[in-house]
């Protein structure tokens, strides 16, 4: 079986988003580090975020979904959403670059940049992730136009389906969106220890990130493209231990 008998132990998953609430029950105490990216004088800088807050609730929602599927995995939060909106694309890119350098095996990206100017920057980062054996799971965008890095071939791009089951996912042979996962009316964790019901590709991506985490725990030597192949091969209703 693709991931029978594993719970993600030994795998580190980074969530590049609005932050993750360390104390939220849905995260299960598995948040081991929290940083935020700020715009310095010139370039973005990564600083520790010891309070581990989530400014929206969205990142905690993603973390909760991943923890629900892979409760053994360690989580790192990279907050790229802050009060300063200048250069938000470069802040996002810097956060992603940092997460890759930290050796996270899986990175959840329920966000994207629409700036054509950053095409090259993201292309380079995504390639470096691939060669560093890091799997990027990226929410597809519902809005037409550029969306980086979700449109790049080496990422696992995910859209939402409406079957209320975290363990049901589909492979779509017509790119750019390659996988479909649970993303409609999903009960999720939210800000200040709260909960919410949410719909969007944003919530489908962490389901696949959780599944990918289990595959990586079960097959530690599998490269990103092998993990993707396994994910496609066992799609459509596979369950752990089945």
């Amino acid at each position: 079986m693709a991931f029978g008998g594993v719970d993600g132990t030994g795998i580190t998953v980074a969530i590049v988003d609005s932050g993750v609430e360390r104390d939220h029950p849905a995260v299960g105490g598995k948040l081991i580090r929290s940083v935020r990216v700020e715009l310095g004088d010139e370039d973005p800088i990564v600083v520790e975020d010891p309070e581990a807050i989530d400014v929206v609730g969205h990142g905690t929602a993603c973390a909760g979904i991943i923890h629900g599927l892979a409760p053994g995995a360690d989580l790192i939060s990279v907050r790229v959403l802050g009060p300063d909106n200048r250069g938000k694309g470069t802040i996002f890119a810097a956060g992603l670059e940092w997460a890759i350098a930290q050796g996270a095996s899986v990175i959840n990206l329920s966000l994207s940049s629409k700036s054509d100017a950053l095409f090259g920057v993201f292309h380079e980062i995504v390639d470096s992730a691939y060669f560093a054996n890091v799997l990027l799971v990226s929410a597809a965008n519902n809005v037409p136009g550029p969306s980086y890095p979700s449109l790049f071939a080496s990422v696992v791009s995910v859209a939402a389906h409406d079957i209320a089951d975290p363990w049901t996912w589909f492979y779509n042979p017509n790119p750019p969106v390659e996988f479909g996962a649970y993303g409609v009316d999903v009960p999720v964790a939210w800000k200040d220890g709260g909960r919410m019901v949410a719909t969007g590709n944003s919530f489908a991506a962490p389901h696949v990130a959780g599944l990918v985490t289990l595959i990586r725990a079960k097959h530690p030597t599998a490269s990103p493209f092998e993990v993707k192949a396994i994910l496609a091969a066992v799609s459509n209703g596979a369950r752990p231990g089945g």
Binding site: S18, V56, L81, K114, V143, R195, G200
Partner: protein, 291 residues
């Protein structure tokens, strides 16, 4: 599915589109505030088609680093106009910064949610869909729709549809910058709608564009356009005289309204005999007289 062309929208939607076109044309003739007028028509259409309690558009203002709610529609939406939030605040902030469309329900059950905006508007929605407004250079704002009356939550399809409206709003903003003509605005919108609903040929779209825009500015509406032209001229006069003109107009409008009420009373047979009179010049588009 895409093999057989089908009409992309029904008569009611066409009517909405026609009203959008008329508003767009008014805006063009007034030559000012055109973007805002079209944005307003986008939120009007959004509320109508979603059967939602409210819809609003917030645009990013780089000088203040704030998302500002520019237009809103629906009874529950009005309070939000002018509200400025930090671009990392709330759902609008998240959607703006992440570029990711999303929908939330069960919102009211969480008392912490969106308190800052809700306190300013005195309206806390149960459900919300928010999509980014995107142009060629990135995300410029957010379209939000609150509380669909028929359902407790918004669907994926709703997100996609809202994205089409957001696209229209983004086109409108661009249009205000480069003076795109009305027909191409409607055409672009329909093109988006058609591709998202998976049908409709170019010919069908062209037919709809014609249906929505034909005879705008023609004889049927000549009084309306005469009024619009006058207002356009008034806007250019000396500010000192503007108050006087505005007071005069006000008096004319009140006089016309009194007239119309009086005639209604006569027709319904109630009250004492009142001189029916005729519509006042300038202040009426003559609808009452035609009835």
């Amino acid at each position: 599915m895409a093999d057989k062309p089908r009409p992309p929208i029904g008569p009611e939607a066409l009517d909405v589109l026609r009203r959008i076109a008329i508003r767009g044309e008014i805006a063009r003739r007034l030559e000012t505030e055109s973007a805002r007028a079209v944005l307003r028509s986008v939120v009007d259409a959004t509320v109508a088609l979603f059967e939602a309690e409210a819809a609003s558009i917030a645009l990013y203002d780089p000088t203040t680093d704030r998302l500002v709610f520019e237009v809103a529609a629906g009874e529950q939406g009005q309070g939000v106009i002018g509200v400025a939030i930090r671009p990392d605040q709330g759902i609008a902030g998240y959607v703006f910064t992440s570029g990711q469309a999303l929908a939330l329900s069960d919102v009211a059950s969480d008392p912490r949610f969106g308190r800052s905006v809700a306190e300013k508007t005195a309206y806390l929605p149960r459900s919300i869909v928010a999509v980014p407004l995107v142009d060629d250079h990135g995300t410029i704002g957010v379209l939000e729709v609150l509380d669909k009356r028929s359902q407790a939550a918004f669907s994926l399809r709703d997100i996609e549809l809202a994205a089409v409206f957001a696209r229209q709003a983004a086109v409108a903003i661009r249009a205000s910058r480069v003076e795109r003509d009305l027909a191409s605005l409607v055409r672009a919108t329909l093109g988006d709608l058609a591709s998202s609903s998976g049908g409709a040929s170019d010919a069908a779209i062209e037919e709809l564009v014609q249906a929505a825009t034909e005879r705008i500015g023609g004889d049927d509406d000549s009084r309306l356009w005469a009024l619009v032209e006058r207002i356009a001229r008034i806007r250019k006069i000396d500010p000192g005289r503007l108050e006087l003109v505005s007071d005069l107009l006000d008096a004319l409008v009140r006089e016309s309204e009194r007239d119309a009420r009086a005639r209604r009373r006569v027709r319904s047979g109630g009250g004492t005999a009142v001189r029916p009179g005729t519509a006042s010049p300038g202040g009426s588009v003559g609808r009452d007289r035609d009835r």
